[in-house]
Subunit: 156 residues, 2 copies
DNA sequence: CCCTGTCTTCAGAAATTTCTGAACGTTCGC
DNA sequence: GCGAACGTTCAGAAATTTCTGAAGACAGGG
Protein backbone atom coordinates (compact mmCIF):
# COMPACT_ATOMS: atom_id res chain seq x y z
CA UNK A 1 0.00 0.00 0.00
CA UNK A 2 2.92 2.32 -0.47
CA UNK A 3 3.62 2.43 -4.15
CA UNK A 4 5.70 5.42 -5.05
CA UNK A 5 3.10 6.42 -7.58
CA UNK A 6 0.34 6.28 -5.02
CA UNK A 7 2.35 8.40 -2.64
CA UNK A 8 2.91 11.05 -5.27
CA UNK A 9 -0.69 11.05 -6.29
CA UNK A 10 -1.77 11.60 -2.71
CA UNK A 11 0.76 14.41 -2.38
CA UNK A 12 -0.41 16.09 -5.55
CA UNK A 13 -4.02 15.75 -4.52
CA UNK A 14 -3.36 17.35 -1.17
CA UNK A 15 -1.46 20.15 -2.89
CA UNK A 16 -4.38 20.76 -5.23
CA UNK A 17 -6.75 20.87 -2.28
CA UNK A 18 -4.57 23.41 -0.52
CA UNK A 19 -4.67 25.49 -3.68
CA UNK A 20 -8.44 25.32 -3.45
CA UNK A 21 -8.06 26.62 0.08
CA UNK A 22 -6.26 29.68 -1.22
CA UNK A 23 -2.60 28.74 -1.30
CA UNK A 24 -0.36 29.46 -4.29
CA UNK A 25 0.08 26.44 -6.48
CA UNK A 26 3.80 26.03 -6.29
CA UNK A 27 3.93 26.74 -2.58
CA UNK A 28 1.31 24.10 -1.96
CA UNK A 29 3.18 21.55 -4.02
CA UNK A 30 6.38 22.25 -2.15
CA UNK A 31 4.66 21.97 1.20
CA UNK A 32 3.11 18.65 0.20
CA UNK A 33 6.51 17.41 -0.88
CA UNK A 34 7.86 18.08 2.60
CA UNK A 35 4.88 16.51 4.22
CA UNK A 36 5.20 13.31 2.22
CA UNK A 37 8.99 13.05 2.27
CA UNK A 38 10.61 10.28 4.25
CA UNK A 39 13.71 12.37 4.65
CA UNK A 40 13.71 14.98 7.36
CA UNK A 41 15.15 17.75 5.22
CA UNK A 42 15.09 18.47 1.51
CA UNK A 43 17.31 20.61 -0.68
CA UNK A 44 16.11 22.87 -3.45
CA UNK A 45 17.42 20.29 -5.88
CA UNK A 46 15.37 17.54 -4.24
CA UNK A 47 12.28 19.65 -4.64
CA UNK A 48 13.00 20.43 -8.27
CA UNK A 49 13.35 16.71 -8.97
CA UNK A 50 10.30 15.70 -6.99
CA UNK A 51 8.07 18.36 -8.51
CA UNK A 52 9.59 18.41 -11.98
CA UNK A 53 9.95 22.17 -12.17
CA UNK A 54 12.69 24.70 -12.74
CA UNK A 55 15.12 25.91 -10.09
CA UNK A 56 13.56 29.34 -10.36
CA UNK A 57 10.14 28.04 -9.44
CA UNK A 58 11.53 26.18 -6.49
CA UNK A 59 13.29 29.29 -5.29
CA UNK A 60 10.10 31.30 -5.42
CA UNK A 61 7.99 28.63 -3.78
CA UNK A 62 10.45 28.03 -0.98
CA UNK A 63 10.75 31.72 -0.33
CA UNK A 64 7.03 32.06 0.10
CA UNK A 65 6.50 28.99 2.21
CA UNK A 66 9.41 29.94 4.43
CA UNK A 67 8.00 33.42 4.84
CA UNK A 68 4.75 31.90 5.98
CA UNK A 69 6.72 30.16 8.68
CA UNK A 70 5.88 26.66 7.50
CA UNK A 71 9.41 25.55 6.70
CA UNK A 72 12.78 26.73 7.90
CA UNK A 73 16.17 27.01 6.27
CA UNK A 74 18.92 24.82 7.65
CA UNK A 75 22.42 25.95 6.82
CA UNK A 76 24.64 22.93 6.78
CA UNK A 77 28.29 23.79 7.33
CA UNK A 78 30.58 22.38 4.69
CA UNK A 79 27.81 21.95 2.18
CA UNK A 80 26.92 24.22 -0.64
CA UNK A 81 23.35 23.11 -0.60
CA UNK A 82 20.80 24.69 1.58
CA UNK A 83 18.45 22.36 3.38
CA UNK A 84 14.88 23.01 4.36
CA UNK A 85 12.76 21.37 6.98
CA UNK A 86 9.10 21.54 7.72
CA UNK A 87 8.46 23.17 11.05
CA UNK A 88 6.76 21.14 13.70
CA UNK A 89 4.06 23.70 14.27
CA UNK A 90 3.42 24.33 10.60
CA UNK A 91 -0.29 23.60 10.76
CA UNK A 92 -1.13 25.67 13.75
CA UNK A 93 0.95 28.42 12.18
CA UNK A 94 -1.02 28.15 8.97
CA UNK A 95 -4.24 28.36 10.94
CA UNK A 96 -3.11 31.41 12.84
CA UNK A 97 -2.06 32.97 9.62
CA UNK A 98 -5.52 32.61 8.23
CA UNK A 99 -6.64 34.50 11.25
CA UNK A 100 -4.38 37.39 10.44
CA UNK A 101 -6.51 37.67 7.33
CA UNK A 102 -9.52 37.78 9.61
CA UNK A 103 -7.81 40.62 11.40
CA UNK A 104 -7.51 42.56 8.14
CA UNK A 105 -11.20 42.08 7.49
CA UNK A 106 -12.00 43.24 10.98
CA UNK A 107 -10.06 46.43 10.51
CA UNK A 108 -11.86 47.14 7.25
CA UNK A 109 -15.20 46.57 8.94
CA UNK A 110 -14.35 48.93 11.77
CA UNK A 111 -13.51 51.57 9.23
CA UNK A 112 -16.93 50.96 7.76
CA UNK A 113 -18.66 51.32 11.11
CA UNK A 114 -17.06 54.72 11.49
CA UNK A 115 -17.92 55.77 7.97
CA UNK A 116 -21.68 55.30 8.06
CA UNK A 117 -24.26 57.01 10.23
CA UNK A 118 -26.97 55.22 12.20
CA UNK A 119 -29.21 52.98 10.13
CA UNK A 120 -29.42 49.52 8.72
CA UNK A 121 -25.94 49.54 7.28
CA UNK A 122 -24.52 50.57 10.60
CA UNK A 123 -26.32 47.75 12.39
CA UNK A 124 -25.12 45.17 9.85
CA UNK A 125 -21.58 46.37 10.15
CA UNK A 126 -21.68 46.20 13.92
CA UNK A 127 -22.92 42.65 13.81
CA UNK A 128 -20.16 41.66 11.44
CA UNK A 129 -17.61 43.43 13.59
CA UNK A 130 -18.77 41.59 16.69
CA UNK A 131 -18.54 38.21 15.01
CA UNK A 132 -15.06 38.75 13.66
CA UNK A 133 -13.90 40.16 16.97
CA UNK A 134 -15.20 37.03 18.63
CA UNK A 135 -13.38 34.80 16.18
CA UNK A 136 -10.16 36.64 16.62
CA UNK A 137 -10.31 36.21 20.37
CA UNK A 138 -11.19 32.56 20.28
CA UNK A 139 -8.75 31.31 17.68
CA UNK A 140 -5.60 31.35 19.82
CA UNK A 141 -7.44 29.54 22.59
CA UNK A 142 -8.46 26.86 20.14
CA UNK A 143 -4.92 26.21 19.07
CA UNK A 144 -3.72 26.16 22.63
CA UNK A 145 -6.41 23.72 23.57
CA UNK A 146 -5.39 21.41 20.76
CA UNK A 147 -1.77 21.42 21.81
CA UNK A 148 -2.59 20.79 25.44
CA UNK A 149 -4.96 18.00 24.58
CA UNK A 150 -2.41 16.37 22.33
CA UNK A 151 0.31 16.53 24.94
CA UNK A 152 -1.99 15.45 27.71
CA UNK A 153 -3.72 12.44 26.27
CA UNK A 154 -2.52 11.43 22.84
CA UNK A 155 -4.57 8.25 23.02
CA UNK A 156 -6.23 6.75 20.00
CA UNK B 1 -18.99 61.65 9.00
CA UNK B 2 -21.15 60.00 6.41
CA UNK B 3 -20.18 61.43 3.10
CA UNK B 4 -21.37 59.26 0.28
CA UNK B 5 -17.83 59.12 -1.01
CA UNK B 6 -16.51 57.97 2.33
CA UNK B 7 -19.14 55.25 2.51
CA UNK B 8 -18.20 53.94 -0.91
CA UNK B 9 -14.54 54.03 -0.13
CA UNK B 10 -15.10 51.99 2.99
CA UNK B 11 -17.21 49.53 1.01
CA UNK B 12 -14.59 49.16 -1.69
CA UNK B 13 -11.88 48.74 0.87
CA UNK B 14 -13.77 45.98 2.63
CA UNK B 15 -14.41 44.29 -0.70
CA UNK B 16 -10.73 44.39 -1.53
CA UNK B 17 -9.90 42.89 1.84
CA UNK B 18 -12.34 40.08 1.27
CA UNK B 19 -10.65 39.45 -2.06
CA UNK B 20 -7.41 39.17 -0.14
CA UNK B 21 -9.15 36.59 2.01
CA UNK B 22 -9.88 34.50 -1.05
CA UNK B 23 -13.21 35.73 -2.36
CA UNK B 24 -13.81 36.48 -6.03
CA UNK B 25 -13.56 40.16 -6.78
CA UNK B 26 -17.03 40.80 -8.10
CA UNK B 27 -18.69 38.66 -5.47
CA UNK B 28 -16.89 40.58 -2.76
CA UNK B 29 -17.93 43.92 -4.22
CA UNK B 30 -21.54 42.81 -4.40
CA UNK B 31 -21.50 41.58 -0.84
CA UNK B 32 -20.01 44.83 0.36
CA UNK B 33 -22.71 46.72 -1.52
CA UNK B 34 -25.37 44.84 0.41
CA UNK B 35 -23.59 45.35 3.66
CA UNK B 36 -23.32 49.09 3.18
CA UNK B 37 -26.75 49.67 1.65
CA UNK B 38 -29.37 51.54 3.62
CA UNK B 39 -32.09 49.75 1.74
CA UNK B 40 -33.03 46.29 2.86
CA UNK B 41 -33.08 44.76 -0.60
CA UNK B 42 -31.32 45.59 -3.84
CA UNK B 43 -32.11 44.73 -7.42
CA UNK B 44 -29.58 43.68 -10.02
CA UNK B 45 -29.94 47.12 -11.52
CA UNK B 46 -29.13 48.77 -8.20
CA UNK B 47 -25.98 46.72 -7.98
CA UNK B 48 -24.95 47.54 -11.54
CA UNK B 49 -25.34 51.24 -10.77
CA UNK B 50 -23.61 51.09 -7.43
CA UNK B 51 -20.66 49.09 -8.73
CA UNK B 52 -20.49 50.56 -12.21
CA UNK B 53 -20.34 47.24 -14.02
CA UNK B 54 -22.28 45.42 -16.69
CA UNK B 55 -25.46 43.44 -16.11
CA UNK B 56 -23.58 40.29 -16.99
CA UNK B 57 -21.08 40.82 -14.26
CA UNK B 58 -23.81 41.44 -11.74
CA UNK B 59 -25.57 38.28 -12.78
CA UNK B 60 -22.46 36.21 -12.28
CA UNK B 61 -21.57 37.80 -8.97
CA UNK B 62 -25.05 37.44 -7.57
CA UNK B 63 -25.23 33.84 -8.65
CA UNK B 64 -22.06 33.01 -6.79
CA UNK B 65 -22.85 34.92 -3.64
CA UNK B 66 -26.32 33.43 -3.53
CA UNK B 67 -24.89 29.97 -3.96
CA UNK B 68 -22.64 30.60 -0.99
CA UNK B 69 -25.79 31.27 1.00
CA UNK B 70 -24.88 34.86 1.80
CA UNK B 71 -27.79 36.53 0.03
CA UNK B 72 -31.20 35.29 -0.99
CA UNK B 73 -33.47 35.99 -3.93
CA UNK B 74 -36.77 37.66 -3.23
CA UNK B 75 -39.36 37.26 -5.93
CA UNK B 76 -41.69 40.18 -5.79
CA UNK B 77 -45.09 39.39 -7.32
CA UNK B 78 -46.16 41.82 -10.00
CA UNK B 79 -42.64 43.08 -10.57
CA UNK B 80 -40.28 42.11 -13.24
CA UNK B 81 -37.27 42.89 -11.15
CA UNK B 82 -35.75 40.40 -8.85
CA UNK B 83 -34.73 41.61 -5.42
CA UNK B 84 -31.93 40.30 -3.27
CA UNK B 85 -31.34 40.54 0.42
CA UNK B 86 -28.39 39.76 2.58
CA UNK B 87 -29.11 36.88 4.89
CA UNK B 88 -28.96 37.53 8.59
CA UNK B 89 -26.52 34.71 9.23
CA UNK B 90 -24.27 35.54 6.32
CA UNK B 91 -21.10 35.80 8.38
CA UNK B 92 -21.46 32.64 10.33
CA UNK B 93 -22.35 30.96 7.04
CA UNK B 94 -19.21 32.30 5.45
CA UNK B 95 -17.18 31.03 8.36
CA UNK B 96 -18.73 27.59 8.17
CA UNK B 97 -18.10 27.55 4.49
CA UNK B 98 -14.42 28.11 5.05
CA UNK B 99 -14.58 25.08 7.21
CA UNK B 100 -15.96 22.98 4.41
CA UNK B 101 -12.67 23.78 2.74
CA UNK B 102 -10.98 22.46 5.84
CA UNK B 103 -13.03 19.33 5.40
CA UNK B 104 -11.68 18.89 1.87
CA UNK B 105 -8.15 19.22 3.16
CA UNK B 106 -8.86 16.69 5.85
CA UNK B 107 -10.08 14.17 3.34
CA UNK B 108 -6.98 14.64 1.23
CA UNK B 109 -4.80 14.15 4.30
CA UNK B 110 -6.58 10.98 5.25
CA UNK B 111 -5.98 9.67 1.77
CA UNK B 112 -2.33 10.44 2.34
CA UNK B 113 -2.23 8.63 5.66
CA UNK B 114 -3.50 5.53 3.89
CA UNK B 115 -1.08 5.89 1.02
CA UNK B 116 2.18 5.90 2.94
CA UNK B 117 3.68 3.20 5.11
CA UNK B 118 5.07 3.77 8.62
CA UNK B 119 7.76 6.40 8.86
CA UNK B 120 8.24 10.11 9.19
CA UNK B 121 5.78 11.01 6.49
CA UNK B 122 3.15 8.90 8.14
CA UNK B 123 3.70 10.58 11.47
CA UNK B 124 3.51 14.04 9.96
CA UNK B 125 0.33 13.20 8.15
CA UNK B 126 -1.25 11.85 11.28
CA UNK B 127 -0.43 15.00 13.17
CA UNK B 128 -1.93 17.11 10.45
CA UNK B 129 -5.00 14.92 10.35
CA UNK B 130 -5.49 15.25 14.09
CA UNK B 131 -5.29 19.01 13.99
CA UNK B 132 -7.74 19.39 11.16
CA UNK B 133 -10.09 16.93 12.75
CA UNK B 134 -9.96 18.97 15.92
CA UNK B 135 -10.71 22.17 14.03
CA UNK B 136 -13.61 20.64 12.23
CA UNK B 137 -15.16 19.50 15.48
CA UNK B 138 -14.68 22.79 17.25
CA UNK B 139 -15.84 25.20 14.58
CA UNK B 140 -19.58 24.61 14.91
CA UNK B 141 -19.32 24.98 18.66
CA UNK B 142 -17.59 28.31 18.21
CA UNK B 143 -20.37 29.66 16.05
CA UNK B 144 -23.00 28.39 18.40
CA UNK B 145 -21.24 29.99 21.33
CA UNK B 146 -21.16 33.32 19.54
CA UNK B 147 -24.84 33.23 18.78
CA UNK B 148 -25.77 32.26 22.32
CA UNK B 149 -23.54 34.92 23.80
CA UNK B 150 -25.02 37.56 21.54
CA UNK B 151 -28.56 36.64 22.40
CA UNK B 152 -27.80 36.25 26.08
CA UNK B 153 -25.88 39.36 26.93
CA UNK B 154 -25.45 41.75 24.03
CA UNK B 155 -23.96 44.36 26.29
CA UNK B 156 -21.32 46.77 25.03
C1' DC C 1 -50.02 36.87 -29.07
C1' DC C 2 -46.56 40.32 -29.39
C1' DC C 3 -43.78 43.80 -27.03
C1' DT C 4 -40.95 45.42 -23.51
C1' DG C 5 -38.13 45.20 -19.62
C1' DT C 6 -35.20 42.21 -17.04
C1' DC C 7 -32.05 38.54 -16.35
C1' DT C 8 -28.77 34.86 -18.06
C1' DT C 9 -25.37 32.84 -20.94
C1' DC C 10 -21.33 32.75 -23.49
C1' DA C 11 -17.47 33.85 -26.66
C1' DG C 12 -13.83 36.63 -26.75
C1' DA C 13 -10.95 40.66 -24.71
C1' DA C 14 -8.43 42.25 -20.92
C1' DA C 15 -6.08 41.75 -16.75
C1' DT C 16 -3.77 39.04 -13.58
C1' DT C 17 -1.21 35.29 -11.93
C1' DT C 18 2.22 31.79 -12.51
C1' DC C 19 6.16 29.53 -14.59
C1' DT C 20 10.36 29.33 -16.99
C1' DG C 21 15.05 30.03 -18.58
C1' DA C 22 18.94 32.66 -18.78
C1' DA C 23 21.98 35.87 -16.59
C1' DC C 24 24.02 37.10 -12.39
C1' DG C 25 25.76 36.42 -7.35
C1' DT C 26 27.65 33.71 -3.83
C1' DT C 27 30.08 30.27 -1.47
C1' DC C 28 32.95 26.36 -1.01
C1' DG C 29 36.76 23.30 -2.40
C1' DC C 30 40.97 23.35 -4.17
C1' DG D 1 42.08 33.55 -6.05
C1' DC D 2 39.73 30.37 -9.54
C1' DG D 3 36.47 27.28 -10.96
C1' DA D 4 32.38 24.83 -10.25
C1' DA D 5 28.06 24.02 -7.97
C1' DC D 6 23.94 26.29 -6.25
C1' DG D 7 20.71 29.69 -5.50
C1' DT D 8 18.29 34.03 -6.81
C1' DT D 9 16.27 37.41 -9.68
C1' DC D 10 13.74 39.07 -13.40
C1' DA D 11 11.84 39.80 -18.08
C1' DG D 12 8.87 37.69 -20.87
C1' DA D 13 5.80 33.52 -22.16
C1' DA D 14 2.01 30.78 -20.92
C1' DA D 15 -1.97 29.78 -18.43
C1' DT D 16 -5.71 31.19 -15.81
C1' DT D 17 -9.09 34.20 -14.14
C1' DT D 18 -12.26 37.96 -14.71
C1' DC D 19 -15.07 41.22 -17.22
C1' DT D 20 -17.77 42.77 -20.92
C1' DG D 21 -21.16 43.19 -24.60
C1' DA D 22 -24.23 41.08 -27.48
C1' DA D 23 -27.57 37.60 -28.27
C1' DG D 24 -31.12 34.94 -26.38
C1' DA D 25 -34.63 33.40 -22.79
C1' DC D 26 -38.32 34.40 -19.90
C1' DA D 27 -42.32 36.82 -17.69
C1' DG D 28 -45.94 40.20 -17.49
C1' DG D 29 -48.75 43.83 -19.61
C1' DG D 30 -51.34 45.36 -23.20
Amino acid sequence: MTGETERREAAEHLALTLVGAGMQRMGARALAAFLFAEKDTLTAGDLADELGVSAGSVSGAVKMVAQMGLIERIHVAGSRREHFRMRANAWTTLYSRQHSVVDDVLRAVEKGVDAVGPGRAHDRLEYMRDFYTFLLNEAPMLVERFERQRRGGPRS
